[in-house]
Amino acid sequence: MKKISISAAIREGMREEMLRDENVIMVGEDLGRMGSPFAITLGFLDEFGPNRVIETPISESGFTGMAVGAAMRGMRPVVELMYVDFVSVAMDPVMNQAAKMRYMTGGQVKVPLVVRAPMGSGRRNAGQHSQCLETLFTHIPGLKVVCPSTAKDAKGLIKAAIRDDDPVIFLEHKLLYARKEEVPEEEYIIPLGQADVKREGKDITIITWSRQVYFALEAAEELAKEGIDAEVLDLRTLVPLDWEAIRKSVCKTHNVVVVHEGVKRSGYGGELSAQITEELFDELDSPVTRVAALNVVPPFAPTLEDAFFPHPEDIVKAVKKVLNR
């Protein structure tokens, strides 16, 4: 096993897929000489040439729509939105074209498109550069949604996403890019729709994804000191959802906290809470509880941003409250 950063893991995964399948192309701003702002496509232009690394103008709607057209013609474009917040200017090709094309054509068409985007708070990037928007995508049938937390997962999942015949939104947390972790030497895939228990526990299930996985693990360590044994379930993929993994864990612990970095109102946490409540009501010893960002715009000042989104101590607090401790 080698140790590489999450950004390198994504780069490796994409590179392997580009080598494997000539239909895989990269589309987005600054992917060429710069290799993208987070260095995800570094070296691709030299290795694969401008025919496979399409460095675009600042025209998100145009180039995402273009990628949809290319996907309909059999290409497998991987689009980068420089920040997920900019999906605001590419929403139509994502939600009304890519997501719906297969259904509207009665299953004639596949749209094997990946839209990658960095997301997340904590970098003091203020209101228009710090959002977690995974929930918006989960509300649009036709899209799959992936939010990896580790280098190993990121690599295996980006490969699965590229091979998947559906449009996949692949959300990378900016503050995870630099994390170095062990990644298998040999080729591997992590199928979409498989959650992963990142820490086993018996008292409570913390369901989460992306950067909050680490906060949940930190919280779990903290809780362990007080005799609370928390299980941390990293969903990895939000759509399709690994319900079996959730069910299993809930039936074991009977208590659930859902944690996400995006704002709480209408966040995916609500969806999970509702499903668990509807289907596992009798298993629950306590109400499913959510820990999520406040219903406000991402603020700039560090004092405010730190108060905006969940930190390990918020998780600890929520767990204790749920368990009446």
Binding site: R52, G62, G74, T105
Partner: protein, 330 residues
């Protein structure tokens, strides 16, 4: 008797296709009035020469994206009237198995990369098709159909800019019927034509009589050849008129009667028929074509009406290509 420039096959083929579209859509208006057609129906009655002239300049292997007003484009590109009719009636035998309807007719095998309900959304999709041909080094050309008013969408600008910068083999085909629903294009745009916007991308732009299929054909042929030779995109603007409302049910009272009457005289099908007769074609032959089209569309209607609606259980299929059931379930 054979026209020097155009073969009999081509001319009569154009005539036939214009009639196919006209008769197809006239039946739509009839069934809409009867309350037997669902959704919004945007006819292209009066605009047939554009679709036919454009597609005459295309190879079977070429591609196009269409709009909300797309029946003519798809028929001209080779779609079958019966399967399309079935789709418009929401039947399981339709192109989209009843899931798409009028605004989503698609047949990728015929190069029809979808009609579209979002104004301007087909333009980048066509651009992506052009990009694909360029990457693959294949020779297909893609036509992006759009209306005059769609040219005010950002996607028009973003797409043509990219296609121009990268010399993509795309023809941007503006059907200028002077209106976006009730809005006269000149009240919301400062140029005389749409084609002159080509200057902003340093590509050719021409404006032609969209009610003359041969004039459309010539202009598009030139743009297609250029694209196929790797010289990049063009804008071709076809001036035309929709002879009915924006959609069925729209009395189109926002348009000046006088202008409507003037355009009525420019009916592309009648005028083309006159032209063919002048060129020495036999009226009876033309009559036979018309009757054949009448019969074809009648059969299409019958096919549609005889076809079953999709089973309600089909509601959850086709959302995803992989792992559909699980991805839809929760």
């Amino acid at each position: 008797m054979e026209n020097k420039k155009y073969s009999k096959e081509m001319l009569l083929g154009m005539y036939e296709m214009m009639l196919r579209i006209r008769k197809f859509e006239l039946r739509l208006t009839e069934y809409f009035t009867k309350g037997m057609l669902y959704g919004n129906i945007h006819t292209s009655i009066g605009q047939e020469a554009v679709a036919v002239g454009v597609c005459a300049a295309l190879e079977k292997t070429d591609y196009m994206t269409s709009t909300h007003r797309g029946h003519g484009h798809s028929l001209a590109k080779g779609a079958r009237s019966d399967i399309m009719m079935a789709e418009l009636f929401g039947r399981e035998t339709g192109y989209c198995r009843g899931k798409g309807g009028s605004m989503h007719v698609t047949d990728v095998s015929l190069g029809i990369l979808g009609s579209n309900g979002i104004v301007g959304a087909g333009i980048p999709i066509a651009t992506g098709s052009g990009l694909t041909s360029k990457i693959k080094g294949t020779k297909e050309v893609t036509v992006a159909f759009f209306g005059d008013s769609a040219s005010n969408q950002g996607t028009f600008h973003e797409s043509i800019n990219m296609a121009a910068a990268w010399k993509l083999p795309v023809v941007y085909l503006c059907e200028n019927n002077n209106y976006g629903v009730s809005v006269n294009i000149h009240t919301v745009t400062n140029t005389e034509t749409i084609a002159e916007r080509a200057v902003a991308y340093n590509i050719p732009g021409v404006t032609v009589d969209g009610n003359n299929p041969l004039e459309v054909y010539e202009a598009v042929k030139k743009a297609v050849d250029r694209a196929r030779e790797g010289k990049g995109p063009s804008i071709v603007e076809c001036m035309t008129w929709r002879m009915r409302g924006h959609y069925e049910g729209d009395p189109a009272t926002y348009r000046d009667k006088k202008i409507t009457e003037e355009w009525a005289k420019k009916d592309p099908i009648e005028n083309f028929k006159k032209y063919l007769i002048e060129e020495g074609y036999d009226e009876k032959e033309l009559q036979a074509i018309e009757e054949a089209m009448e019969d074809e569309i009648e059969a299409a209607i019958q096919f549609a009406l005889d076809s079953p609606f999709p089973d309600p259980s089909e509601v959850t299929t086709d959302v995803y290509a992989c792992d559909n059931e699980r991805s839809v379930a929760r």
